[in-house]
């Protein structure tokens, strides 16, 4: 058995956390080859080669792979697929765009958001916004899966696997990239931060969201948001936590002005410690919170920022 693992690469840089956690998740499945596809991604390949348990790194460095377009990256993965029993990627937005395409091209049913690899054919995955866990056995000869990384620890950087450069696969020429609108931030990544501070509709406005951000910065935390906060324009889309946003499992998750809808809980209920700040004592978020504070967030969030 052997694994081809598609590394998460953004603008040529390796997302070490996501990739290293995916390596841990599939360690038991056999020899791991990492595929780095990107533009100017040779540093990413060098970093991927340090991950413990990786036996080889393939580097496809070309502008064609620079913007994560699904068609060319899927074509590349399919061209390499033959020699692997498992094709894997961390369950990022990028991989969720690409791997189902790979899967259909190989006539295989994709296994999305795997939370546990039980054996080479059997996997656990959440369904119904995490309200049920399904254990399935894949009957396909090849397996294509995305791994929900939040529950795995990152593989150490102790290795030095060989790197092989790849020729470019064909460009299907179907899509072109126009632009990225990405906010640069010095804050930790939402999906790998030790502490996440999230705000919901209760925060009330874009200006007021600053008090959530101030607490996050004091705690060296990432900032999250509920869908209602994003829909209302208080926070950018990439801060959304939940069934259809990001899944996080930090040491500490602080939810302020968030009611605790199941779709939100789906993205954060595996956090180690949950703190809820809400002025409604009946808010469902208190049912999953380790520590609840029934209060107006405009009083307690600044006070908390002051005191920690």
């Amino acid at each position: 058995m052997s694994v081809l693992l598609l590394a998460e690469i953004t603008n040529g840089a390796l997302s070490l956390d996501q990739t290293a956690k995916a390596v841990t998740a599939v360690q038991a499945l056999g020899d791991i080859t990492i595929l780095c596809a990107g533009n100017a991604c040779s540093d990413a390949a060098a970093m991927a080669a340090t991950l413990a348990g990786v036996s080889k790194v393939l580097c496809a460095d070309d502008i064609l792979y620079g913007n994560d377009l699904a068609e060319p990256v899927a074509a590349l993965v399919v061209a390499l697929a033959d020699s692997f029993s498992h094709i894997v990627a961390p369950a990022t937005a990028s991989a969720k765009n690409i791997l189902p395409r790979v899967s259909a091209l190989l006539d295989v049913m994709v296994i999305s958001d795997v939370t546990e690899v039980v054996d080479p054919e059997t996997f656990d995955r959440p369904i119904y916004a995490g309200n049920a866990i399904q254990r399935i056995k894949s009957l396909d000869t090849q397996k294509v899966l995305t791994v929900r990384t939040a529950g795995f620890s990152a593989a150490a950087q102790t290795s030095s696997a060989p790197i092989e450069n790849l020729a470019v696969a064909q460009d299907p020429g179907l899509s072109t990239w126009i632009e990225d609108k990405v906010q640069q931030s010095d804050r930790p990544e939402l999906t790998s931060a030790k502490i996440v501070v999230s705000g919901g509709r209760g925060v009330g406005s874009l200006e007021h969201f600053k008090i959530i951000e101030a607490l996050a910065d004091k705690l060296d935390a990432a900032v999250g948001a509920s869908r209602a906060a994003v829909d209302s324009g208080y926070a950018p889309n990439d801060w959304q936590v939940g069934q259809t946003g990001k899944v996080v499992a930090p040491e500490l998750y602080i939810a302020a002005g968030i009611s605790g809808a199941i779709q939100h809980l789906a993205g954060m209920k595996d956090s180690k410690i949950i703190v809820a700040i809400n002025k409604d004592e009946d808010a469902p978020i208190f049912q999953v919170a380790d520590y609840g504070l029934v209060a107006d967030l405009f009083d307690v969030v600044p006070a908390l920022t002051e005191a920690v």
């Binding site: 953004t10 377009l69 699904a70 937005a93 990028s94 189902p100 395409r101 899967s103 259909a104 006539d107 295989v108 049913m109 994709v110 999305s112 059997t122 369904i127 119904y128 916004a129 995490g130 309200n131 049920a132 866990i133 399904q134 254990r135 399935i136 056995k137 009957l139 299907p172 179907l174 899509s175 072109t176 990239w177 632009e179 990225d180 609108k181 705690l219 869908r227 829909d231 950018p236 889309n237 990439d238 069934q243 259809t244 500490l252 199941i262 209920k269 410690i273 949950i274 703190v275 208190f286 999953v288 919170a289 380790d290 520590y291 609840g292 504070l293 209060a295 908390l304 005191a307 920690v308």
Partner: protein, 253 residues
């Protein structure tokens, strides 16, 4: 131009899911079922494109049990023109896998020749997030997933996509598959007169056998279980007590 919108009948997003005690799945008997929320958004987008004069016909298609006719009628009442039901199962608990759904949809695409397929980003029951990408692969079409903005141009669609770092704008050649995200639009409610009118709109029924598609599942369900439950902790009285707990009891700050 013609748009095809696949709509799935799923458990209503407000219903609390109950895992059956024998581990065979989630209890779907006598629970409220609705159109997958993402698919409502896809239908709405198609209607807006039609209202803007860019689209001439909207065909909706659903794959599943015969009760999915209700879902199709809802889409027709919103403003779709025609519906196709692919009756693929008699049991509401039997979910058709995205690979099979994509193969069936590929056949419908061959029949209907749409220029654009607008589907949901994910079905909120199986949470697969795969069908659109798979259909696109099978057809060799371009794909734009997780759309929060769609603009049609000559022979192409310009799509803003919600990605992990923010937003990405791409241009895809038509015909294309676009999967829609939550912030694309706010779907309308069907009015009573339009619900009446929808009863007369055409709805045809086909089967996987007629379409020549094999839908044997590739995933064998071993078990369905409840996730570990969290229990409510304590209510603290003020910020100082909270900080003390986080420092001394939990050790997280």
């Amino acid at each position: 131009m013609r748009v095809l919108v696949p709509v799935k009948r799923v458990i209503d997003y407000n219903v609390k899911v109950r895992v059956k005690s024998d581990g065979s799945g989630v209890d779907l008997s006598n629970v409220k079922m609705s159109m997958n929320p993402f698919d409502e958004i896809a239908v709405e987008e198609a209607i807006r494109l039609k209202e803007a004069g860019k689209v001439t016909e909207i065909v909706v298609v659903s794959i599943g049990v015969k009760q999915a006719q209700e879902t199709l009628r809802t889409a027709l009442a919103m403003g779709a023109d025609r519906a196709i039901l692919i009756e693929a199962s008699a049991d509401v608990h039997n979910d058709i896998e995205p690979l099979s759904v994509a193969k069936l949809l590929a056949k419908i695409v061959a029949q209907e020749n749409p220029d654009l397929v607008l589907c949901g980003k994910q079905a909120i029951d199986n949470d697969m997030n795969a069908t659109g990408q798979m259909l696109s692969a099978l057809l060799g079409w371009s794909q734009a997933t997780f759309a929060s903005e769609v603009a049609l141009e000559d022979g192409a669609a310009v799509v803003t996509r919600e990605v992990d770092g923010g937003l990405q704008k791409i241009k895809v050649k038509l015909p294309a598959i676009v999967s829609v995200d939550l912030r694309l639009n706010e779907p309308r409610y069907a009015t009573l007169p339009s619900i009446m009118k929808a009863k007369k709109k055409p709805l045809t029924i086909q089967t996987p056998e007629e379409l020549g598609v094999e839908i044997t599942p590739r995933h064998e369900l071993i078990s369905t279980s409840e996730p570990p439950q969290r229990s409510a902790g304590v209510i603290v009285k003020d910020v100082n007590e909270l900080i003390a707990k986080l420092k001394d009891e939990a050790g997280v700050i």
